[in-house]
């Protein structure tokens, strides 16, 4: 067990492709850090540099107090769970878990004790003599986990370990991984592109974009105060609504680019005339009975009924031109039909303003 520290880590492939452009993350001992971001943003590359499977072009990775840049995966004492499990197909479940321990020259009875412990923890006790191909996807996933935990390493590294499972199993395994990690208290780095996994698993969430860490914080802080439009759009589902607007003269409100105006409550507006993006999460709007307290009026163009919620898609009713779609998440059972005009109020303080040019939070 140890903390993991990345300082300005860079990776350049083949002299030209800069996959990771300088990332610094500090993960306290026993915490779970989740790297999330779109495909190709460099999550796996970063993880593999921590694992020692990829050379580090620049910067340092430390595990515990040791800089591990020049150490191999074994000396780093990490364990990794791969997306496709990477179980040894010709070995039994038992041997799959024991292999790493045998290579370290551990005593036979100690290996046996650890493997049986792990198998019991993961509910694999009855499958120990089976081959991986005789197991279901979820069971294979557990074996891959088992192979990591028998080692009691300094850190667990996960690269999209649940992406090959169906939705239900994924939800279940997510909870199991979290409680296992808590219980074992092993520092972990977890890569995913699933934002639900990211939100639920992370102590520290790192949102990555094009080789950079856009924001590093607790999941809730990232949800509440996204640092940029990229983060705002990535975390939260449906994504945050982003409307192009300009601060009106006298700083009294926002003139939407599509026409109409909004005056969000409890929000400090920047200087007049500034081009901004107004961000409002779909769940932070409510239908008001009173038109005069409404911030926006939504002309509904589509309705999605999800049961617990109803999503109303539409445009601002007073828009003179297409200024971008708005989605409002309304309580389930709300009667809405296409063509309705809904007066919507933005919850106080729940409007986010971003600079139109840079996309950074104002």
């Amino acid at each position: 067990m140890a903390n993991v520290e990345l300082k300005n880590v860079r990776k350049v492939y083949g002299g030209s492709v800069e996959a990771v452009k300088g990332v610094s993350i500090s993960i306290p001992d026993g915490d779970m850090c989740v790297l999330v971001g779109p495909s190709g943003c460099g999550k796996s590359t970063l993880l593999r540099m921590i694992a020692g499977l990829e050379t580090i072009t620049d910067g340092t990775v430390s595990i515990g107090e040791t800089v591990v840049n020049d150490l191999g995966p074994v000396e780093r004492d990490i364990a990794m769970v791969f997306q496709n499990y990477a179980l040894y197909p010709h070995m039994s479940v038992y041997d799959n878990m024991a292999y790493g321990l045998r290579n370290r020259g551990m005593a036979k009875d100690e290996i046996d004790r650890r493997v049986r412990d792990a198998a019991a923890t993961l509910g694999l006790a009855e499958f120990l003599q089976r081959r991986p191909r005789e197991l279901s996807g979820g069971q294979r996933q557990r074996v891959a986990m088992g192979r990591a935990i028998v080692r009691s390493p300094k850190a667990f590294l996960f690269d999209e370990p649940l992406s090959n499972l169906d939705a239900k199993l994924r939800g279940q395994m997510r909870v199991e991984i979290k409680s296992l990690q808590r219980r074992l208290g092993v520092t972990s780095v977890y890569v995913t592109h699933d934002q639900v996994e990211a939100m639920t698993l992370a102590d520290t969430l790192v949102v990555m974009n094009a080789g950079l860490a856009e924001q590093i914080d607790t999941p809730m802080a990232i949800y509440e105060k996204p640092a940029s439009t990229f983060v705002a759009g990535f975390i939260g589902s449906p994504a945050m609504n982003l409307l192009t607007a300009k601060v009106a003269d006298g700083g009294q409100g926002l003139a939407l680019a599509g026409g109409g105006s909004v005056k969000p409550r409890d929000t400090v507006l920047p200087e007049a005339g500034r081009e901004v993006l107004l961000g409002v999460r779909p769940e932070h709007m409510v239908v008001t009975s009173n038109r005069s307290t409404a911030d926006l009026t939504l002309k509904v163009t589509a309705v999605e009924i999800l049961g617990a919620d109803t999503l109303a898609h539409g445009q601002p009713a007073d828009a003179t031109q297409n200024g971008g779609e708005i989605i409002a998440r309304l309580p389930g059972g709300t009667k809405v039909e296409v063509g309705d005009v809904l007066p919507l109020a933005i919850n106080p303080g729940m409007a986010h303003l971003f600079d139109a040019a840079t996309g950074k939070r104002i």
């Binding site: 074994v74 791969f82 990477a86 040894y88 197909p89 010709h90 292999y99 790493g100 191909r133």
Partner: protein, 306 residues
């Protein structure tokens, strides 16, 4: 499931057409099935009959063989002929008995097949998993040797063997035939299909290159190894030109060479009954290898492990 469903619809359509009995699942009519079988049976007979006839001839006395027609049923000389061939020392090839010949052939065939597999496994391992300078050059050099079978390089190879003093030795028989571009390429193709994650998992598990080779690569390649072993054993067993050149002493002959030497141009000098025995003996080991190894690679084909 899907197949059953397809078969079911197939049958019902056929039933609708009123020709149900005439068609099986593949939609091949009964008549054409008979014809196909007839062709196959004829093929088998053409291949099997000479072998059967060889065996029959090996159980008759020389006199019976020389007085045609040869009976179609086994004669009573089985034990005598085989005993004489195996232990008596066969006349024309300098008193060497068939045991020695079988032993020579076995050593050569095993040496070639095991050597080829070992060398190709190692060179494919190097080419696929290690980044060393000139890697692609080596790959292409190996690839080009595909175009240079033994027969093409036979004179220089012979010279080298003479210089090394390897004439009439097992090493001389085996070594020049061991390098195999085909097997190397085959293993290379297979190694390339091994997922990168598996290799990385092994690295994380602390398996160095040698352990990875021994614990993971070899077991995963076992069906390939079995298949190659069969092919290479037969290749080694049936070598003719090279053993002919590199052995002078009769006691180093392989059974294939000896078989040729036993047949004299003057028909009367040839001990046909012993020739037939030797031919049968020469055929047996490859057949046994195929029969024994077949179980292995069929098993491997059924239980795809990857």
């Amino acid at each position: 499931m899907a197949e059953n469903a397809a078969a079911a619809t197939g049958t019902s359509t056929a039933a609708k057409l009123g020709r149900r009995e005439e068609r099986n699942m593949l939609g091949v009519s009964r008549t054409s099935r008979y014809i196909a079988h007839a062709i196959l049976i004829i093929g088998v007979l053409i291949v099997a009959f000479p072998i059967y006839y060889t065996f029959i001839a090996s159980t008759h006395s020389l006199q019976t063989i020389l007085r045609p027609p040869l009976p179609l049923l086994p004669g009573d000389q089985f034990f005598e002929n085989y005993y004489q061939a195996l232990f008596g020392g066969v006349g024309r090839i300098g008193g060497v008995d068939a045991w020695t010949l079988l032993l020579n052939s076995t050593i050569m065939a095993l040496g070639i097949s095991i050597g080829k597999i070992a060398i190709s496994l190692l060179s494919a391992f190097a080419i696929v998993f290690f980044r060393f300078p000139g890697r692609m050059v080596f790959f292409w050099v190996i690839f080009i040797t595909l175009m240079l079978p033994v027969e093409v390089r036979i004179l220089p190879t012979y010279k080298v063997m003479v210089d090394l003093g390897l004439i009439d030795t097992y090493a001389g028989l085996i070594l020049p035939l061991i390098a195999s571009a085909t097997a190397t390429l085959l293993f290379r193709q297979f190694f390339l299909t091994i997922p990168g994650e598996l290799i990385e998992a092994a690295r994380v598990d602390g398996a160095g290159p040698w352990r990875f080779f021994k614990d993971i690569l070899m077991p995963l390649s076992k069906t390939n190894i079995a298949a190659l072993f069969v092919i290479m054993f037969i290749y080694g067993w049936t070598q003719y030109l090279w053993p002919l050149l590199v052995t002078n002493s009769n006691s180093m002959n392989t059974i294939v060479i000896a078989l040729r030497k036993m047949i004299s141009f003057a028909d009367a000098d040839t001990q046909w009954h012993l020739v037939m025995v030797t031919a049968v003996l020469a055929m047996l080991p490859p057949i046994l290898v195929v029969l024994f190894m077949q179980r292995w690679f069929v098993k491997g084909l059924v239980e795809t492990e990857k």
